[in-house]
């Protein structure tokens, strides 16, 4: 400083000297004493010294400050260096000149260091942040990378370490992400196959998994959950697959069993084709969904049902077959009833067992049939012979048999053959008896024919034949007696009744079992119908009949007269014949014969009560008037056969004329007489008028305006 301003100093020296001179002059002028002058100069000297002393103090303080600043800076630099893990070696400032220079050099260095520290810190923060985020993602519960607050160690090495950790974690994260994606695709495929809702399933594990945009959660927990989900889904899949394969197997079995048509099978081919597939092979969407399984289950149960119904059918068929064989064998068919469908349905019996049993029985029955065959053939022959015999008998009774007529030559021929056959019967019976006894001995059982022991049948027949023989003998005697009687009568009255012609037919023939066996329902109906039809023409006869009954002639004559119309009479129900004498009935008949009766309308009913007849006549009259008959919906009237079955009215003597209309608990018999329908006045009239043709309509059809399309066709 002194160097820098020498001129100034010089000037200052001069100024001080000049000032002193000036002061000397002033003093001189003033005449100040030397003492005073010395005092003054000392004072000035002292003041100058004080000023110097102060300045030096100031300079010292500033130097100390500088030193302190330098020391502080150096310390900070060293500190930062150590924090950054660097050697502070290059700071060689000791050689350099004065303190200010030192400070000048050190300040930028410090600034630089500070900057570097901040940068480093930022780097650390960044890395740590990332670390924390990732570790948070991977394992949110225990976060090991808490942000490190202390800045003690910001060294390069540590940063490197952290960076490598970060890299590792990033790698870990991406691998986890891959894993999650793999799991997700697994879950997705499983869900598809099982028909579950993928989103739902995944959402249950973690909500982020469902969102395609959001980053997936990769925590241990999620991965673990996914793994268990996949595991459980896999288990379900295997379970369902086994079930489905089981179903498919039974399906194929059922198909094979029942020859199910291909088109029905085709619907399930996709399922049966996977019958032996391994678990990973099943990838078809919804293949293992509950719906699909239920669908297949439904089909299986449907087929099961079909099968059971077919089995039932089969059992029934077998039963029928068995019954047929037994019937052909003429064995009593009680054994068939053992197996009932109910037994199977209740589960007490198995189909297969049942079938086996029936088959066994059939086999047994067949076996037995073959053993019985020979005898049965003979029995059949015997039966035909007996039929012929009975025919012949009847034929023999017909006194007009030799009258030439249509077909009489055929009858003659037949009679001839029959006689030959009849002569063979005893031998036949003999042979049959032998065979049967032999058979019975052989088998140890009785030979039964339709439940009757054949031997006893044969015996019966033999007995009957003997009886018949006796009867024939008796008849011969009787005829002789009759001739004798007639001759006597002739002698008394001189007249001779004409011989009855066809009366004999009525007496029972020896047909016995044979003919009854052949009776059918139709036959019965015919027999019942015939007399009614003929009854009309018989009326006049019957009245005569009644007259003759009163005649004083003896029995034979009345017998023969009855025989005159006997063929019909005898078949009319007894009560009709009995009533025929009563005047009411007679009147009824007369009236009846007057009115034009429809053929086949029952006679007997009309007799049941007078009231009914009156009713009937009224109905009839109205019908003839023709006023209201049209009103009834027109129906082709065909009298049904069941009319005959309605004779019940005859039996009920307390038939009432009409139903009492007052409400009461009084029980009234029903009106069951089959009079021709009473036409009712108004019903259905509209329908008929409208359509005008034969098509009938119900009230509902009329109301709905329904027109039968078939009308158009006519």
């Amino acid at each position: 400083m002194l160097n820098h301003h020498p001129n100034e100093f010089a000037r200052l020296e001069t100024t001080c000297g000049s000032l002193l001179c000036e002061l000397q002059k002033i003093w001189d002028e003033v005449g100040e004493s030397d003492n005073e002058r010395d005092k003054m100069i000392l004072e000035i000297e002292q003041e100058c010294l004080a000023v110097y002393g102060r300045k030096i103090d100031d300079a010292k303080i500033s130097r100390a400050q500088l030193l302190r600043a330098i020391a502080l800076s150096e310390a900070e630099v060293a500190d930062i260096c150590s924090t950054l893990g660097e050697q502070p070696g290059h700071c060689d400032w000791t050689a350099g000149g004065n303190l200010r220079d030192k400070l000048k050099t050190i300040t930028p260095l410090l600034e630089d260091m500070r900057q570097r520290k901040i940068d480093r810190k930022n780097q650390f923060l960044q890395v740590l942040n990332q670390l924390q985020i990732i570790s948070n993602e991977i394992c949110p519960k225990d976060n090991m990378y808490k942000i490190i607050e202390d800045e003690a160690d910001l060294s390069e090495q540590r940063l490197k370490e952290l960076r490598s950790q970060l890299a590792y974690l990033q790698e870990e994260k991406s691998s986890r992400l891959r894993k999650v994606m793999k799991h997700l695709s697994n879950v997705n495929s499983l869900c598809m196959v099982l028909g579950l809702d993928f989103k739902d399933t995944v959402c249950k594990i973690h909500p982020t998994l469902n969102d395609p945009k959001a980053s997936k959660d990769v925590s241990n927990d999620t991965i673990e959950k996914m793994a268990t989900t996949i595991q459980s889904l896999q288990e379900v899949k295997i379970q369902r697959m086994q079930k489905l394969q089981h179903l498919a197997t039974s399906l194929v079995e059922l198909w094979n069993l029942m020859d199910t048509p291909l088109e029905e099978q085709e619907m399930f081919h996709n399922i049966t084709s996977k019958i032996a597939a391994l678990e990973p092979e099943i990838t078809e969407p919804n293949f293992l969904s509950m719906n699909n399984i239920k669908y297949v289950e439904g089909e299986v149960s449907r087929l099961e049902q079909l099968k059971s119904s077919k089995m039932k059918e089969l059992v029934l068929k077998k039963k029928l077959e068995l019954a047929e064989i037994l019937r052909k064998m003429h064995t009593v068919t009680e054994t068939v009833g053992d197996f009932s469908i109910e037994a199977i349905e209740s589960g007490s019996m198995d189909f297969m067992d049942l079938l086996e049993q029936i088959d066994l029985q059939i086999a047994k029955a067949k076996e037995e049939a073959s053993s019985r065959k020979e005898i049965l053939e003979k029995v059949e022959k015997w039966f035909t012979a007996r039929e012929e015999e009975s025919w012949l008998e009847e034929y023999n009774r017909d006194d007009n048999r030799y009258n030439a007529g249509r077909g009489s030559h055929l009858s003659l021929k037949r009679a001839e053959k029959a006689r030959v056959l009849v002569n063979k019967i005893p031998a036949m019976v003999e042979a049959l008896t032998c065979k049967v006894t032999a058979w019975e001995k052989e088998t140890g059982t009785e030979f039964s024919y339709d439940g009757v022991r054949l031997i006893s049948m044969l015996e019966d027949y033999s007995c009957m034949r003997q009886e018949k023989e006796l009867e024939r003998q008796r008849q011969k005697d009787h005829r002789k007696l009759q001739v004798q009687l007639i001759a006597e009568q002739e002698a008394i009255y001189g007249s001779k009744p004409s011989p009855s012609k066809s009366g004999r037919k009525t007496s029972t023939t020896l047909t016995g079992i044979a003919s009854n066996r052949k009776l059918s329902l139709g036959g019965v109906m015919l027999q019942n119908l015939k007399p009614e039809k003929e009854a009309l023409c018989v009326h006049s006869n019957k009245k005569i009949d009644g007259l003759y009954r009163n005649s004083p002639f003896g029995r034979p004559q009345s017998v023969s007269l009855a025989a005159g119309s006997g063929r019909r009479n005898s078949e009319i129900p007894g009560n009709v014949v009995n009533k025929s004498c009563s005047s009411v009935a007679a009147k009824a008949r007369k009236v009846e014969s007057k009115s034009a009766r429809k053929p086949l309308s029952p006679v007997s009913l009309a007799i049941s009560s007078k009231a009914n007849i009156a009713n009937f006549l009224e109905d009839k009259k109205r019908t003839h008037n023709g006023t209201s008959l049209k009103a009834v919906p027109s129906v082709a009237v065909t009298p049904s056969k069941q009319i005959v079955a309605c004779n019940e009215g005859n039996k009920a003597p307390n038939t009432m004329p009409s139903v009492p209309k007052t409400p009461s608990t009084f029980t009234a018999p029903m009106l069951m007489a089959m009079t021709p329908a009473t036409p009712c006045v108004s019903l259905g009239a509209k329908a008929n008028e409208r359509t005008g043709d034969k098509i009938e309509y119900s009230f509902e059809e009329v109301r709905a305006g329904f027109i039968c399309p078939s009308k158009v066709q006519f």
Binding site: V632, C646, A652, S658, P663, T678, L683
Partner: protein, 344 residues
Amino acid sequence: MTAVHPPPTSGRELGNPPSDGISNLRFSNHSDHLLVSSWDKSVRLYDASANVLRGEFMHGGPVLDCCFHDDSSGFSASADHTVRRLVFSHGKEDILGKHDAPVRCIEYSYAAGQVITGSWDKSLKCWDPRGASGQERTLVGTYPQPERVYSLSLVGNRLVVATAGRHVNVYDLRNMSQPEQRRESSLKYQTRCVRCYPNGTGYALSSVEGRVAMEFFDLSEASQAKKYIYAFKCHRKSEAGRDIVYPVNAIAFHPIYGTFATGGCDGFVNVWDGNNKKRLYQYSKYPTSIAALSFSRDGRLLAVASSYTFEEGDKPHEPDAIFVRSVNEIEVKPKPKAYPNPPA
């Protein structure tokens, strides 16, 4: 005896009756619920004992018949050709399928698990109500009939079909390919109603001409000759020397005693004992024709639909009403014959 207004003895009248003719009513097999179909295009479900309308289903056309499936669902046959399934609890309905003409009658077979419908398109159809919706899945089979189907009745596996032209076909539900028996009605006039005996041995058939025939399934000589088969006159009136004959619209068998009630266009309900050939009871006259009858499952209630059946075309008539009467045992219990004359 000809009181027009029913005395209180005719039973309790149900509230909210259908607004048009009642085509049929049926009691449930499990409860006292009553299903009623009507020409007002509705099917109504009543609780007969509580006299409450439980539900109502509207259809596209008049409903000609209805039946229960179980207590929670039923079926209906409509003149708009559809066969519907009704779910009572949800008020839901779906269409089982269609005929080519109005569907006249419907039955549910518990034995076969099928719905059987008869239509004026001259066919019978069987439906499986369990199938998914859609005709291909539900239709089990179609069986052509000689004429338009008028009435159906089921007992066990037997199905009796009465059609126009007095045909009667008897089917076995297990083999519907062809009728077990083809018969002709023994009555000379149009069939109105057919109902099987509860014991499954035969059926009763009524005609428009005041007559009911009792028939048996067994065609063997023994049973046919036993004279159990007969027909009797009923629902007639003598007036000014002329008989007026009324159609017999309804037959209902008592579930326990096997006796049966008939209802005719004369507005009377008669109870008969078919075995002893006796009329047991006649209820006092209802306001108009008896369109349908049904006994409850235990036979303690009898539902009577008094509803004009259009036998005389469109004309003013009494309002349609449903009466539910409790049945006294004496009215329906068979009485042995007065004289010892056992049937052959």
